[in-house]
């Protein structure tokens, strides 16, 4: 750990761009391995599957990039997603008899998911900024709370969307425009918007400034608390968006929904080149990170090369390798 923070500046000279190119090279390498191992890897169906299943973690990870860039952390997103999914399903089932099966019910469900995400994010953000509790502790707490709440809502079982609604809602995950499915489109839009906000707005620059040095940022008239709170609110809202795309897939939520999403999202952010202790965020890198993690799973499922017991080990090696490669190119 400590060696990464004391990397001397000399390494910058001999390999100036490795920390930018690293994740892309890893992604290209994985794609080549995939092609070599299985002819179906490049099929439209397989690529659609991989991109669509990356969308949930991807949408969340874009939000996580802002939180981490501003020096924060959010461990609650996986549990939050499960809780919001459960809440949304319950709400839609409840209003179904009075409104009748139709787009209107789905619309209300979507609004509830987004609003719940917004509120949950605001709770995290305000506890961090107003109550002054470390983000790790706050979100560790809310992680447990949301996980318990969804188990309680589901009575230990599974919450399932009413069958009539499932048929109406289904196209949101499985349908699309011109052969590109909705989750991929939404993921792409969120990623592009995130990249623009991070690079070209005051908000993005303030996030990096706060993550880099909070005191200096405060003296530079950055509204530190407001910006920090907003990063959590944004992340919460994006968790809501991810849930909107997730619910139509299987039409259910349980205590097992969204398990370890927070760690996958954080790993993707770090693989992408954002610094865990804040000060710098790279949204497109995060997208690459998400794709790398999904592709590892996909490639392992497409071959018998490695024992399935070792999937986690391979992901772990790649996460560490990606970060090692990047740290050689930065001054930490």
């Amino acid at each position: 750990m400590s060696t990464t923070t004391t990397t001397p500046a000399r390494s910058r000279a001999w390999m100036p761009d490795l920390h930018v190119l690293g994740p892309i090279l890893a992604l290209v390498a994985l794609v080549l391995i995939g092609i070599a191992l299985n002819p179906n890897f490049l099929s439209v169906a397989n690529l659609t599957n991989v991109l669509a299943r990356s969308a949930f973690i991807g949408i969340i990870a874009v939000g996580m990039t802002f939180v981490i860039a501003a020096g924060g952390l959010d461990l609650s997103v996986g549990s939050m997603a499960a809780f919001i999914a459960g809440l949304t399903i319950l709400a839609m089932n409840t209003i179904l008899p009075s409104m009748g099966a139709g787009i209107a019910v789905i619309g209300v469900g979507v609004l509830i998911a987004l609003a719940a995400g917004l509120i949950a994010g605001a709770i995290n953000g305000l506890l961090v900024t107003r109550a002054g509790i470390e983000a790790f502790i706050v979100t560790l707490g809310t992680m447990g709370i949301y996980r318990s709440l969804v188990t309680w809502l589901a009575d230990g079982g599974t919450l399932s969307l009413d069958f009539a609604l499932r048929e109406i809602y289904r196209p949101v995950y499985y349908g699309g425009v011109a052969g590109v499915s909705w989750p991929i489109i939404v993921f792409a839009l969120v990623a592009i918007a995130g990249e623009v906000v991070m690079r070209h707005t005051a908000f993005g620059r303030h996030c990096a400034a706060i993550g880099s040095n909070e005191t200096v940022a405060r003296y530079s008239t950055v509204a530190v608390n407001r910006v920090k709170t907003l990063t959590y609110v944004l992340l919460g809202l994006l968790v809501g968006v991810a849930v909107v795309m997730y619910v139509p897939r299987l039409g259910s939520a349980s205590a097992a929904t969204g398990l370890l999403w927070e760690l996958e999202a954080i790993a993707a952010v770090i693989i992408g080149g954002t610094v865990l202790k804040g000060g710098f965020g790279r949204v497109w890198g995060t997208v690459v990170g998400v794709l790398i993690l999904s592709l590892i799973g996909n490639i392992l499922n497409l071959t018998d090369m490695v024992s399935p017991y070792l999937n986690g080990a391979i992901q772990g090696v790649i996460i560490i390798l990606a970060v090692v490669l990047q740290r050689k190119g930065t001054a930490g």
Binding site: N38, G156, R249, L250, T257, L302
Partner: protein
């Protein structure tokens, strides 16, 4: 044997004076089956406490083996339990702690996951993983032709999973059925959906899927529907989830049968333990193994429980 006699003697002395306390320690509701286990445990506790005034219960649910050991220590130290019903999270780490409790003279009922050492518990109530795998395997042999190609979605890596897979493989041996791939779905719908999607990309022809668990079957079915390959294969899950039993009952061709592994075995264990502590001398010690049954459209109705969350 010695501690058995002691238990009976102690229970006999304690009975007239104070209420009996039964401690129950089970895994938390981290997946569908465990959720149903929690549901049945709570329901049984509520029912028995209402029925018998001098019966107290301590119910704890644990997310990992370490917490379970602490829970057991707390139960012994602060609640002075007379009997323990435990579903060990993992066999190895729980064997020592449960053995110490048994040595202290407390009645011990072990549920489903056996301890690593024999003869510790007074009563063992469990499902039969061997028959679970075999029942599914036999169905595949009867309903698939020589040369049929199937894929398997395994559960969470564990002894239970290994036993099921071994029994299944033994049952299909020599039938000419080829298992093309086995990956873990971790009893999770999302993981199984992903695994099945990748199987579908990888194999142009699949005759059947053994999903080994009903939650995993739900994920697999969604992936098959997405790929529009419903006509090509059938899916066999396992455990007895309400929605799956219903599909069997309705004669769904994609879900022709299910194999039971009832989570309500926890109720059996609690009831028998309660019987034992309230009636010293009543012979309830031994092994009670609940066989896995094949649910078919003909008998599905008797496996369908409307109120269960699972």
């Amino acid at each position: 044997m010695k501690h058995l006699v002691l238990t009976t003697a102690l229970a006999g002395l304690a009975l007239p004076a104070t209420a009996q306390t039964i401690g129950i320690s089970i895994p938390a509701a981290t997946h569908g089956w465990a959720g149903a286990l929690n549901f049945h445990a709570e329901e049984t506790v509520d029912r028995l406490s209402e029925q018998f005034e001098d019966l107290d219960f301590v119910l704890t649910t644990t997310p990992d083996p370490g917490t379970q050991i602490s829970d057991l220590e707390d139960m012994m130290a602060t609640r002075d339990i007379d009997a323990l019903v435990v579903l060990p999270f993992e066999s190895e780490p729980l064997t020592g702690p449960v053995a110490r409790i048994a040595e202290g003279g407390t009645w011990v009922t072990v549920v489903d996951r056996g301890l690593s050492q024999e003869g510790i518990e007074d009563l063992y109530v469990a499902g039969d993983n061997e028959s679970f795998g075999r029942t599914a395997g036999e169905y595949f042999v009867e309903n698939l032709d020589d040369g049929a190609q199937i894929v398997v979605i395994r559960g969470l890596p564990s002894t239970i999973d290994n036993e099921r897979i071994e029994a299944f493989e033994a049952a299909i041996e020599g039938s000419g059925i080829e298992v093309m791939a086995m990956e873990h779905g971790n009893f999770n719908r999302d993981d199984s959906f992903t695994v099945m999607q990748d199987y579908l990309s990888r194999y142009p022809e699949i005759d059947a899927v053994w999903a080994t668990d009903d939650d995993q079957a739900v994920g697999a079915l969604a992936a098959i529907e997405q790929a529009d390959r419903n006509e090509e294969m059938f899916v066999v899950g396992g455990a007895g989830m309400k929605q799956m039993i219903q599909r069997v009952m309705e004669g769904d061709e994609m879900v022709p049968v299910d194999v039971t592994y009832p989570p309500s075995m926890i109720s059996t264990a609690i009831e028998m333990t309660a019987l034992g502590v309230m009636n010293p001398g009543l012979p309830v010690s031994g092994r009670f193994i609940i066989a896995s049954e094949l649910v078919t459209p003909e008998n599905a109705e008797s496996f369908y429980f409307e109120d269960s969350p699972y």
